[in-house]
């Protein structure tokens, strides 16, 4: 069927075997690709309770029907597996030439099983698969590894690789690509590391099956130019994502001092204006029309690529208000293959735990040198503290005790993105109900809360907005697979995506059709959680306790004296469950599963946990 290559590549590292595996048209139409493919494959193939860092886990690279085809921002891939940080389904997306190359090699997804006997680089060259030694770069960072691969194969190949953090099974290790892109903050780098899989290199030369290749080519290139024109007019790329930092500071939504504070008088020193002034280069993904990566010189003269999340969490959150200094922390995270967001939250949690007497240590806020040292210890799992912090803030808090779990800034084991929800109920809900832990990629509602609703509201309008955005951000863009930025930041119409879908597949689908698929995938992810945690309840969907703590309220500014309230948050959560058709534990009901076409998967999950 046009739109898909129609086959997966399944590789077993233990046996050093591979096979092409066709999938049916029905499978393609039901799950589309990307996150949809990954969720279904992992649900069907992983036995509940397996060790995410053991050989039974699978590492998946999944693409969608428009991935890799020239059109606005389609150079992205989804990486997925059982998450070492949450124990549930985990994924992430990143910009990479793998999107185009793997599809041209003839595959819509790569499924990696088993564990290699020695450090391995997987080389996929159209129909050929080679298991090559990566011993030469085992123990090296992602920059050296990437250069080593480029020296062998040139820069046009698709590359995924890991640094020392992935090798040493840091639970928030990421997968890296193209010297600047990272994805899979749910620990997908550690899943690769657990398989001794240092890198994946892909070359493909075949045409991607499309219903109307000439039409897609014309529309794709026209739209690439048009989105670029819109971006130039809007000016979004001038400050890129870090433009939002100054706004978060103004409306009391910035993470400062492990989220204890919501704004800071020195925040301007690391805002979008300063980042733009310090810019030495700009980076983007393949097929990008509005490049978001702004590169600066860090305090050791290295090139460090920054965006808002890593500035927010490695800067103000650690009370570091110096761009070259936080740029250095960002560079180290990127080189080690540590997720910058979780890395920032883990360091801030450690400083806060020391402040509150939960643990003794020689570290604190505004300590760039100490932060650099700790990132190295984490990546190498060096010493007791390196080992503890490599486990993430939730597990570290269990170790430290003394109530420190209340200010471990995480949900389900995944650290919170750079939005302080001390008094932003809808965004707190978005973090709470994200199916992979506290990631902002599923839903982001802060502007809506302030402009279309009121900040104090815990009403159903906010729950509905979270659902609407999940269908788009966590759904459509994650299974098509494409970057959401043209739509969210420059207003590129969502109606373009059914248009692209028709050009590649020949099939008519409306956005409403796609929302059903989004809901189906979200239901599947909940079933995955139910199998892993049969005693699950709605408390899994609560944000960190410190956001409810009146003693943590701001003493001045726009939200002085205010924090989230438990009973009202629980009511908001119930609105969300009601809209989605979930029961009081946050699990889809049998009727909902039936409506979404996943009753069979429900019956499979019911062997492990109850359905209502």
């Amino acid at each position: 069927m046009n739109g898909w290559t129609g086959q997966f590549l399944r590789v077993n590292l233990t046996a050093k075997t591979f096979k092409k595996e066709p999938f049916s048209d029905e499978f393609a139409l039901k799950w589309i690709g990307g996150r949809g493919f990954a969720a279904k494959i992992l649900f069907d193939e992983l036995a509940p309770g397996i060790d995410p860092l053991g050989p039974d886990n699978k590492f998946i690279v999944a693409l969608g029907p428009i991935a890799g085809i020239p059109a606005p921002n389609t150079g992205k891939a989804v990486v997925a597996g059982k998450s070492p940080s949450t124990g549930g389904y985990g994924d992430g997306n990143l910009g990479t030439r793998v999107a185009e190359q793997l599809r041209k090699a003839g595959y819509d997804a790569l499924i990696v099983e088993g564990r290699a006997a020695e450090p391995t680089m997987l080389f996929i060259d159209d129909d050929k698969v080679e298991f090559l030694s990566a011993a030469e770069v085992w123990g090296q960072g992602t920059y050296v590894t990437n250069d080593w691969i480029y020296a062998k194969y040139g820069k046009s190949v698709g590359v995924l690789n890991i640094g020392q953090a992935g090798e040493n099974l840091v639970r928030y290790a990421v997968v890296r690509s193209m010297e600047g892109r990272a994805g899979g903050r749910t620990g997908m780098g550690a899943v690769m590391g657990s398989k001794l899989l240092k890198a994946i290199v892909v070359k493909g030369t075949k045409p991607i099956p499309q219903a109307d290749p000439a039409g897609m080519k014309k529309v794709g290139y026209d739209d690439l130019r048009e989105v670029n024109r819109i971006d130039k007019k809007s000016g979004w790329s001038i400050q890129s994502t870090n433009g939002v930092l100054a706004w978060c500071n103004e409306v009391a939504a910035l993470p400062v001092r492990n989220f204890r504070k919501t704004h800071h008088p020195d925040a301007w020193k690391v805002d979008g204006e300063r980042l733009n002034n310090a810019r030495i280069a700009t980076y983007g993904c393949p097929n990008c029309t509005m490049r978001c990566g702004i590169t600066i010189h860090d305090d050791e003269g290295r090139e460090s690529e920054l965006d808002y999340e890593n500035v927010g969490l490695l800067g103000p959150n650690l009370e570091i208000f110096d761009l070259p200094q936080l740029g250095s922390l960002n560079y180290l995270c990127d080189d080690y293959g540590i997720d910058t967001m979780s890395g920032g939250c883990v360091l801030s949690f450690y400083a806060d735990a020391i402040d509150h007497g939960a643990v003794a240590g020689d570290y604190g806020f505004n300590d760039a040198a100490g932060s650099k040292k700790l990132l190295g210890q984490i990546a190498r799992r060096e010493g007791e503290i390196g080992n503890i912090l490599a486990e993430g803030s939730m597990r570290a808090a269990r170790r430290f005790g003394h109530g420190s779990i209340d200010y471990a800034m995480q949900v389900k084991g995944l650290e919170v993105a750079a939005y302080n929800c001390k008094f932003i109920p809808g965004m707190a809900l978005a973090f709470g109900v994200s199916p992979i832990g506290a990631h902002h990629k599923e839903s982001w509602v802060i502007t809506f809360e302030l402009k279309q609703s009121v900040r104090e509201s815990y009403g159903p309008e906010k729950a509905q907005k979270v659902v609407d955005l999940q269908r788009i951000r966590g759904g459509l863009f994650e299974y098509m697979v494409a970057c959401r930025f043209p739509w969210i930041e420059n207003g590129w119409s969502l109606e373009n995506y059914p248009k692209y879908f028709k050009l590649v597949s020949g099939l008519d689908r409306t956005l409403d059709d796609f929302w059903v698929i989004s809901d189906r995938i979200y239901a599947m992810l909940k079933l995955f959680w139910l199998r892993e945690y049969p005693q699950t309840d709605r408390k899994l969907d609560y944000p960190p306790a410190v956001w409810f703590d009146p003693t943590n309220a701001d003493t001045e500014g726009p939200i002085a004296g205010k924090v989230l309230e438990y009973d009202k948050y629980d009511g908001l959560l119930q609105h969300y469950y009601d809209i989605r058709g979930y029961d009081k534990r946050g699990i889809p009901t049998k009727a909902t599963l039936e409506r979404l076409g996943v009753a069979e998967e429900g019956r499979a999950a019911e062997k492990y946990g109850k359905l209502t």
Partner: protein
């Protein structure tokens, strides 16, 4: 009365300043302020007054800090 106006993100480059103080007559609304600082009215935006969102006809007060930002969507 004196109002501090702060622009966010690309508005800084597009409209020519980052932050400035303006002397305006009593009764000036947030919408009046948009006109005074020559912000393109057709651009989608969110305006906050002392950290809280305002409606266009809301009257400002002496010492207010007004922030004018494009609609960000959280990356």
């Amino acid at each position: 009365m004196t109002i501090t106006v702060k622009l966010i993100g690309p508005f800084v480059q597009l409209f020519g300043f980052s932050e400035k103080q303006l002397d305006v007559p009593a009764g000036t609304t947030s919408d009046d302020l948009i006109g005074l600082v020559s912000i393109d009215r057709s651009r989608p935006k969110i305006v906050t007054r002392n950290g809280r969102a305002v409606v266009p006809d809301e009257a400002l007060a002496d010492g207010d800090r007004v922030v004018i930002s494009p609609i960000y969507s959280g990356g």
